[in-house]
Symmetry: C2
Subunit: 340 residues, 2 copies
């Protein structure tokens, strides 16, 4: 049985969605869950759920108390060093000590990355762990974007490692057979881009991956590439542009629809279609963003994650943990260093 | 009367939308239009339109023949230097010679920028002309993003100039009273960003503009800032992420709606709402992207522009031409240089 630690104090509405998502994941996927955080707050929320398993007995959910909590306002690096009794720290330690196979947190992203790197350490050969975002493409396949915020001002060699790690994640965890890896740029031709993309291109070509050259911003959704490599500044901007536009379009559509009575009837009649649409573009369905290159499994969720997003992040963490992803990263980086 | 030159050979379906958009603009706004390109092709298309003006006489549309055409496959810098008989070149020369107040082109963006810089020259004090994209915000106000692709690997001083030019454009052309200028980054706090944004922040603070600090990708649509400054690589990625997502969401919504009969009825009933929605998120309504900092008025349109987009680009070019935008840029840069 796979065990996933859940930072119950992370998100904006913690511990409510964390506890609810954990209960759903335990019931639906059969994973063992360790909820980490304020004991009283967690139990208070757990008591509102039916925890009996269908097989008899109760769901495999445990609670581990943590005295401190890292907030969104905390300075990431400082909090990582000083708040060692935090729920985020405790989750990472459970994984480092082998008591959990992976953990998820919807807390302060910067602090979460800093703690994961500090407590878990890096997979041998990895220069910089990278945060990877997963987007739904219109083909229905997931698109992995690496990096979406862990590293800004990247060097070309870092982008090559992102490509390798992203490719392995796509293959082993997302089950894409032969992932095509693209380099995010501003035109498909090789000479179009900036100094970084031009330097990264020959390095990506040397890797034993299906590198398809430059891709553009629209390819985050086209499905033309399965893995998209970029500097963390660019990736983070792209991620937030997408989030912002999706929110605006949904809101505008609702406004336009409710502006007339006939469209209100139309809305009612097409409700199931809207539900389907929302599900297809909803980030909550995808779970969280895996931090690639740390020794262990760490999935970082949006601060506004609801129970469904938490449940899906637990699913992703378990899938990551049951792949031999980190071993493959180590081996392929070693092979590449030997060849190069 | 304002005269706008239209590159009739630019877009993917040239000269059809160009001629149609020009006829609409001449009729609706009363501007004088010079259609530049293959004489026969333009007249062939013009003949299908009713060109009589309501006042009697005919619409103020002229045709100027150009022997060459720059295609999307042409190498931008090479084509700019070698194809001097192109419709794009002729448009720029009409403006440089004072025969037109501005021009628009839906052709090869790189070539268009190179030709504008070469033929028109730069406004005194401007280091690098910048392409600015205009996004519709959910508040209904337009958001100007500078740069969206003219300059990659920017230095901090260039970003400060982009901020100044964008602010003047927002104020004089888009009629925003006191535009708030934000720096595109990956977190609102000043220390969050990359080396470029950290270097640009003190320079933007020194300008006589309402600088509100860092903004994030979602602010392209929030209306929180009226002008957003960024490196052209980042801006171009952001623009294409937005385009790609808007297309995907529209397509998915249609698919979801037509999947069931009841939603087909729903779709029919809510059609006017959809039209309203589409209009609110449609880039065609906004016109084209102005190239800021060249001595003259050059509006670059999407290659897939339809007649409506061309018409709106002509409107924007005329509004730009009747502002004293370039004079203000020159004066404010001079004042700033004197103060600094």
């Amino acid at each position: 049985m796979i065990t996933i630690a859940v930072d119950a104090m992370g998100g904006d509405k913690a511990p409510v969605p964390e506890v609810e998502g954990a209960v759903q994941a335990a019931r639906q996927f059969g994973h063992r869950i360790i909820l980490v955080g304020d004991r009283d707050a967690i139990h208070h929320k757990l008591d509102t759920h039916d925890l009996s398993a269908e097989s008899g007995g109760s769901l495999p959910i445990e609670v581990v108390h943590a005295t401190e909590r890292i907030t969104m306002d905390d300075h990431a690096a400082k909090a990582a060093r000083s708040k060692k009794g935090s729920s985020m720290h405790s989750c990472a330690r459970l994984v480092a000590d082998g008591k959990a196979d992976g953990y998820i947190s919807a807390g302060n992203t910067g602090a979460c990355m800093a703690i994961a790197k500090m407590v878990l350490g890096k997979v041998p050969g990895v220069d910089r762990p990278a945060l990877s975002g997963v987007f739904p493409s219109q083909k229905g396949t997931p698109v992995v974007v690496v990096d979406v915020g862990a590293n800004v001002d990247c060097e070309a060699a870092m982008l090559a490692q992102f490509g390798l790690m992203g490719q392995i994640y796509s293959r082993l965890v997302l089950k894409v057979k032969r992932p095509r890896v693209g380099l995010l740029s501003i035109g498909e031709e090789e000479h179009k881009g900036n100094a970084l993309t031009r330097d990264a291109t020959p390095l990506l070509k040397e890797l034993d991956i299906d590198f398809i050259g430059n891709v553009e911003g629209r390819d985050l959704f086209s499905g033309h590439a399965d893995v998209i490599v970029c500097d963390g500044f660019v990736g983070n901007v792209a991620l937030k542009v997408a989030e912002g536009l999706a929110e605006m379009m949904s809101r505008m559509l609702k406004e336009s629809l409710s502006a007339t009575i006939s469209s209100k009837i139309g809305y009612a009649l097409s409700r199931s279609a809207f539900k389907d649409f929302k599900k297809r573009v909803d980030y909550a369905e995808i779970g969280g963003a895996p931090l690639l290159g740390v020794k262990g499994v760490c999935i970082i969720c949006h601060g506004r994650s609801d129970a469904n997003a938490i449940k899906n992040a637990i699913r992703v963490a378990a899938e990551f943990a049951s792949s031999n992803m980190n071993q493959r990263i180590e081996e392929e980086l070693r092979e590449f260093a030997r060849a190069g």
